[in-house]
Amino acid sequence: AENTKLRFAYLLADSDLPILVAQKNGDFAKAGLDVELTEVQGGPAVVAAIASGSADVGYASPVPPINARLNGINVKMVMALGHEVDPDKKFSWLVASSASGITDLAGLKGKKVAVNANGSLCVLTLADQIAKVGLKIDDVQQVVLPFPQQEAALEQGAIDATCTVNPFYASLSKNKAIGAKVLAEGVLADEREPVLNDVIFATDDYVASNGPALKTFGKVLFDTRQKLLADRSAMEAAAVEFLGLTPEAAKDFTLPVVKRELTITEAEVQVLLDAMKRADMLTQDMSAKDMVANMAP
């Protein structure tokens, strides 16, 4: 029989490594899926690709699909690909350079802090973390700067602190000229429960009519991820091949996996919604009810 077509839009990040590996190995095809991958730059572009009909399913951090839903673009999150949790499974950092003289979150007041994009997970991170010390997002100077340029900017003193992720965190924390000082770890200040980092989403229509395909997709994804997690050398090789890391950088590579399953819950999303509300990224209370349709295998 003809394979079911599934067009997948993504931005390149650690979490979607299993998808790329599965595609390369032909695992999707074997499972009866004809997956077409489209890489784009940034979460909003993934949403645009899906809303425009250029893709069926997308991968991004949870903020873009939440924002999309809030603005009338009917997408639902169907699987969770990555989480963070206390104490040590942390995949985002707030870092200051030693030259800036900042030693704690309170020191960020009035300083230049880089975020990779507006309305991104990074903004949420910054807002939620500094809220701990009673600061508002407007108390710092946000500078929009893509991740790759942040290290140089820190070293040159163009920015004082930044919100970063891997592999950039790994690189800049080794950079002696910066003398990176970690101010906070994790997206949210409170991460006693796992906090959602990466999601897969699709339009309501697609979810309604292509449930089985999504489930198959999740199954292949899950299996491949398990294999990678079990085989360190395969993981490193994949990181070099698909993420373009140098072999040395790949040695430090980890998938942000906290929960074994891909299951996504409304509660997880609600935590983020509440945090966004606190950070003034939402104007009103929001319920995660319509935003989630768990399709994990």
Binding site: T38, E39, S52, S54, P148, E151, A152, E155, L243, G244
Partner: protein, 262 residues
Amino acid sequence: MDGFSAFALLLRFRALVSFLIIVAVWQLVAALGLAPEKYFPGIPAIVSGFLGMVANGELAAAEWRTLLRAMLGLAGASLLGVGLAILSDISPAFRRGFAPIAALIQPIPPAAVVPMAVFMLGLGPKLYAFIIILVTVWPPYFNGVAALASVSDIQIRSGQMLGLSRWQILRQIKLPAAMPEIFAGIRYASTISLIAVVVAEMLAGHDGLGFLLVRKAFAIRIPEVYALMFVCAANGLVLNAIVNAARWQLAGWHLRMTGQPA
């Protein structure tokens, strides 16, 4: 005349010479350590990054796509730009209507309309065509309008006298007379068509040089990022060579009349 032949040689290989000049300046800045080596690597590191990308074939594939898109885009945008200029020349009503539209659209940054454009056009070739044309039509259009408006009246009268129709006057007199200036516009268009392609690939692409650039940046492979920038620059030369060839065909008289080196 030893000095002369050396000069002629220099002229002949001026493209190569200028490339080497840029490389040399770069290396000088790198060697002086004006910026940390990590972010501003020397030429040897860039070359090895370049060779790496050549070896695994990703560069050739990306380069070919980008160049092809830029060439197609340039050809399309030039034809469209000149076409609009011609329309403006023959129809004052069109000119009045279109001039403000041109002025309105021209400063719109493509990055700002990409989200909307993606929705309308998807992520395929239509999107590229839209972005390239959005930024690239203007130089041929503006140069064309200005040049067509300033063709010598004696020449136009010569055509009128022969009973040529407006269209014939346009084709046989105004266009040839305006050609040198139009080509100045096309030449600038050639540079921005390349930029537009690369930026489009960066914003919403999934292949090509721009995409590769972002990808390398996110993989913190700085020498390769710079190698790609040098490739972009070299593309400028390639495209310009093509434009110049066309120019010799269509406006060679002007180059000879003003005594320019081939």
